[in-house]
Symmetry: none
Subunit: 257 residues, 2 copies
């Protein structure tokens, strides 16, 4: 995790998801998001490449009583870094995306987050920059999408409002007494960094055999693979198996050279 000099919380002790603001622009919105989170007991914020750097005095001024959320913020340069230790990542999106990925309401998503968290998984929720929203290259790293069912004729939720509704649903999801015990409760699910390494390894092997052809389709082919793998909810054991499968298929080839 980059920016470890900003007083981040290195561990993951509590049961709340990480709210990951990706390339946020205005410090005021970061502060307002911190307040929105804390209203519903969420205090784990991560920032990816905040436009105006970090720390940000406008964020602190706006956060006011929620400054302790900012005190423990984790700052990264990339989404890859910010999600590396997470087992399950949601991406909030306003528009329909032409991606094969489950789309959930905030309610369903936070119920699922609650189940995953109860099973020991680390969950994060990504929020895109003001106006533009998340890019497809961010979204393909997510396990599922979250879409707020806004009025199609007037959809103007700002960043802090989207954070507010998500945190509210997180809180609501915990109103039930007993959390559902998930199947596979003892399984360790892969962290995003492990998926990333799996993909990089596969990509290199596929490059070596000229899989990405024609060249101008390379990016979309890689994105497609990334999208598929991030949706599979792989366990750590799955990742090891797939490393083995790819290696076996590819490296024997070398043996025959």
């Amino acid at each position: 995790m980059a920016g470890t000099d900003h007083g981040q919380d290195s561990g993951w002790d509590g049961p709340t998801p990480a709210f990951i603001l990706v390339r946020p622009q205005m410090g005021e919105n970061i502060g307002a998001a911190a307040r929105a989170m804390l209203n519903f007991g969420c205090d784990r914020m991560r920032l990816v490449a905040p436009r105006d750097g970090w720390p940000n005095s406008a964020a602190v001024a706006t956060a006011s009583g929620a400054a302790r959320v900012l005190d423990h913020v984790q700052v990264s340069d990339t989404v890859e870094e910010a999600t590396g230790d997470l087992n399950y990542v949601f991406a909030t999106t306003a528009r329909d995306r032409d991606l094969t990925k489950p789309v959930m309401t905030p309610e369903r998503a936070m119920q699922h987050a609650r189940e995953l968290t109860a099973a020991g998984q680390k969950v994060g929720i990504m929020f895109g920059p003001e106006r533009a929203g998340l890019e497809n290259s961010d979204i393909v790293r997510a396990n599922a999408l979250v879409s707020v069912p806004v009025n199609p004729a007037f959809a103007s939720l700002n960043l802090a409002q989207c954070v507010l509704l998500t945190a509210y649903e997180w809180r609501r999801s915990g109103d039930d007494t007993a959390p559902e015990v998930m199947e596979m409760a003892k399984t360790r699910f892969a962290e995003a960094i492990e998926l990333q390494k799996l993909l990089e390894g596969l990509e290199a092997r596929l490059d070596a055999v000229g899989f990405f052809f024609p060249e101008h389709k390379r990016d979309s082919m890689v994105e497609n693979l990334r999208n598929m793998v991030s949706r599979m909810n792989l366990t750590e054991a799955d990742v090891r198996t797939l490393h083995g499968v790819f290696r076996a298929l590819a490296e024997k080839r070398k043996g025959f050279k």
Copy 2:
């Protein structure tokens, strides 16, 4: 209804509740409330004694695309006037009140509002002024209270946020049609026979490179692969991609024989 010279909607044609802002102070907050409402299809706003009079240019500027909510606002001098034609009135409140009155979550309140509206009743929701909130003399006019379950250690919802959560719950309460998981609507998921063929193809390729070693572990290794693949919830497109990946990794090898 007072203030009928401000272009109000005199009738009650639609199915949405009235959002009644009582003694709001900042025009910006009125505009932000209008936006929050319209995000979830609510467009009936009433104002009681807005501090800076009406119309309010700051409200209009902030409302922006939601200006039509303000165009039809009804302005009154008192809560009594503003609620006179309503059958059922909710009062939003942050603090516990020492009043014998049902207290509902926003979810339950808006479900109830939906039921009442469906039965032809006219429903309103009162929101107090910034900071101070509603006075007891306002609240005693309400049929029920609505309280957002905020973090007791940090409760800082502003007016527009409270309006947002209420409008969101109103929208959710009518959301019978939309499934909670919009499970990749146009996607065709793979059939078992397709997974079976994928596995058989992979197994043959892995056999060819001596992956299943030692022999006595062969069955459990195959079972492990099958278990993994069946858990991935692959789409038909994923299956084709994986066929391509396995072929690329393995067949180039043959080319080098």
